[in-house]
C-alpha cells in the first residue's frame, strides 16, 4: 500500500514538473497567469430567492490584503458567462460584463449573434453597478430593468484547498495529506462579479439542466 502510494505520488510529480500550481483554475495556463484574464473559479447556484440562479466568476486570485486595494478590473477584458439550454454545449445565451473605469456594465442574458471563441458586446447594457472599492464597509449592488442583480469588486476567495501539502506530495517529500489540512487560500482575495438572474430569463433547459461555462476574452 505504502509503495503504491509512493508510486502514485512519484507519477504525479513527474507529470506536474514545471511548477504547475493545482488550484481551482487559479493561474492555470501560461497565457493568462498574472493577468486580468485569469479566472480562478466559476460558481452557479440557486439564489436565496429560489426563482433565481446566481453566477459567480472570480478573477485575479491570491491577492494579499495589501495588494487588494490596488487590484482593478481591466477595461480590455470581457468576462462572459455562457449558458447552453439545449444540451449541445453551444451557448444559447450569454451574460457579459465589461468595466468602463468606474462601473461594471452587464449585457444579457441574450442570444449571441455568433458563438465560440470570438465575442462582441451583445445588445445594450441591462444592468450596471459601481465597482465596490476595497475600503467599502458594505457591497455596492444594483438591479437592472430585467430584474438581474449585479455586483463587482474584491471579495474573500471562497476556494479552499491544502495546496502547499499537495506541492509536497508532488515533490515527493510527503506521501499524503495532513489531517487537519491547511487552507492555502485563507486570507486571500479575488476580484468577483456576481449576477443573480431570474430563471425566467434563461429558458427551459433540456433535461432540466443548463450547461454553463465562463470565459475571459481580450479586446482585439
Amino acid at each position: 500500500m505504502k509503495k503504491r502510494t509512493l508510486i502514485v505520488a512519484a507519477t504525479i510529480a513527474v507529470i506536474f514538473t514545471g511548477g504547475i500550481v493545482w488550484a481551482s483554475d487559479h493561474t492555470d495556463a501560461p497565457a493568462v497567469t498574472g493577468t486580468s484574464l485569469d479566472i480562478t473559479d466559476l460558481y452557479a447556484f440557486q439564489g436565496a430567492n429560489s426563482s433565481n440562479l446566481v453566477f459567480v466568476v472570480n478573477t485575479q486570485g491570491l491577492l494579499a490584503p495589501t495588494a487588494t486595494g490596488a487590484a482593478a478590473f481591466d477595461p480590455n477584458t470581457l468576462i462572459e458567462i455562457n449558458i447552453d439550454n439545449n444540451g449541445d454545449n453551444v451557448e444559447d445565451l450569454v451574460i457579459e460584463a465589461i468595466y468602463d473605469g468606474t462601473n461594471m456594465n452587464f449585457y444579457g442574458p441574450i442570444a449571441p449573434s455568433s458563438t465560440g471563441l470570438k465575442s462582441k458586446l451583445e445588445g445594450s447594457v441591462t444592468a450596471k453597478v459601481a465597482v465596490t472599492p476595497y475600503s467599502a464597509t458594505s457591497p455596492v449592488t444594483a438591479t437592472g430593468a430585467n430584474g438581474m442583480m449585479v455586483f463587482a469588486g474584491p471579495r474573500d476567495d471562497p476556494f479552499f484547498f491544502d495546496l502547499n501539502q499537495y506541492h509536497k506530495i508532488l515533490a515527493g517529500t510527503a506521501t499524503g495529506f495532513n489531517n487537519p489540512g491547511t487552507d492555502a487560500f485563507a486570507g486571500t482575495n479575488v476580484l468577483s462579479i456576481v449576477v443573480e438572474v431570474p430563471k425566467s430569463l434563461l429558458g427551459t433547459p433540456t433535461g432540466g439542466k443548463f450547461n454553463v461555462w465562463a470565459q475571459t476574452k481580450k479586446k482585439l
Binding site: 481551482s24 492555470d28 497565457a31 477584458t77 454545449n89 462582441k120 479552499f160 484547498f161 499524503g176 450547461n211
Partner: protein, 176 residues
C-alpha cells in the same frame, strides 16, 4: 501592428461593400469591437489536473462542443497516470466514462431544486460556494469504487472556507 491590420481589414470591407453595390456612399460603418482569447472554466480544477503542461492554453481555447473528441483520450491517459489502479469511481464510471464526462468542461446546473457539485446525494447539479469540490474530485480520482482507496490522497482535509458566506446577495464574504 494589430491595429493596422484591423484597419486594413475594415478598409477592405468598405471597398467590398462599395464595389458590390456600386454605390458612392461615403458613410463609415460603425466599428465593432471584438474580444477573443483568454481563460475558460466549467468545472473546478479540470485544466490544472487533467491537461498536461504545454496544452493548457490550447484547452482554454477549445469550445465545449468539440472538447470531448479533442481531449477525452488525453484525459484518460492522465487519469491512469495519476492513479494506475483506477477501475471505476464511486459513481460507477469507468475511466473512459469519467474522463468523457470531464473532458467537456462545463458546469451542469439544475434549473430547479438543489444546486451542488456533490452534497452526498445530488451530483453535478451546480456549484455552491461551500461545496468541497477538491475532496469530491480527489475521491473520484483516487478513492476507487467505494471511496476507500488511497485514503491519504483522496481528501485534503480542508472541508470549508476560512470565512462564512453571506445568506444574501452577493453571497461571497467581504475581502480580508
Amino acid at each position: 501592428m494589430k491595429k493596422t491590420f484591423s484597419m486594413l481589414l475594415a478598409a477592405l470591407a468598405i471597398l467590398t461593400i462599395v464595389g458590390s453595390s456600386c454605390s458612392k456612399s461615403s458613410s463609415t460603418p460603425a466599428t465593432v469591437t471584438y474580444y477573443m482569447g483568454g481563460d475558460a472554466i466549467g468545472r473546478p480544477a479540470i485544466n490544472t489536473v487533467f491537461v498536461t503542461t504545454g496544452s493548457k492554453d490550447s484547452f482554454n481555447n477549445t469550445i465545449p462542443s468539440v472538447m470531448e473528441a479533442a481531449w477525452q483520450p488525453k484525459f484518460q491517459t492522465q487519469l491512469m497516470a495519476l492513479n494506475p489502479g483506477f477501475t471505476t469511481d464511486a459513481l460507477g464510471q469507468t475511466a473512459s466514462q469519467f474522463t468523457g464526462l470531464l473532458a467537456t468542461d462545463v458546469l451542469n446546473v439544475s434549473v430547479s431544486g438543489t444546486t451542488t457539485f456533490f452534497d452526498g446525494t445530488n451530483v453535478l447539479t451546480g456549484r455552491n460556494l461551500s461545496d468541497d469540490v477538491i475532496h469530491t474530485e480527489l475521491l473520484l480520482i483516487f478513492g476507487g469504487s467505494d471511496g476507500s482507496a488511497n485514503p491519504t490522497l483522496s481528501n485534503d482535509n480542508v472541508p470549508a472556507n476560512d470565512k462564512p458566506f453571506l445568506s444574501t446577495f452577493p453571497y461571497l464574504a467581504s475581502p480580508w
